[in-house]
Symmetry: C2
């Protein structure tokens, strides 16, 4: 079974750059990569917060959150 990798972003330029570089660089043989735009999927903000996401863009690998650069605080999203 592949490991879950969820990339949360909010459409900001920093986010899109990180998505196109970091998220796309993950090994598709080992990771099931999902891209979540929190601006459009506000219903998933709570899930992101409970995974430890404090800002976007963020990558949650196997439940562990990694913040990449800094685009926007998650508190601004809902």
């Amino acid at each position: 079974m592949k490991t879950s990798a969820i990339f949360y972003h909010a459409g900001c330029p920093v986010c899109v750059e990180a998505e196109q570089s970091v998220a796309q660089a993950l090994d598709p043989a080992r990771y099931e990569v999902e891209i979540v735009h929190l601006g459009e999927q506000a219903g998933r903000v709570a899930e992101a917060k409970s995974a430890g996401v404090k800002s976007v863009p963020a990558l949650v690998l196997a439940g562990q959150s990694f913040h990449i650069n800094f685009g926007a605080g998650i508190e601004a999203l809902g």
Copy 2:
């Protein structure tokens, strides 16, 4: 030819966690991953800075820098 992916760290716990998760998650078929411990390889701090690295851990993908979480400011390293 594979794309260069250099993961800079300084041995801090935040760095090691990011190395073991994010750096190891990259697709080895497309990326030539190099791990650089700036605490032990101080001669490479200048190279990291010129790639735009401002803190470690950081991942430089094809010359573009991405800061992951925040371990230590690069100015503390030399």
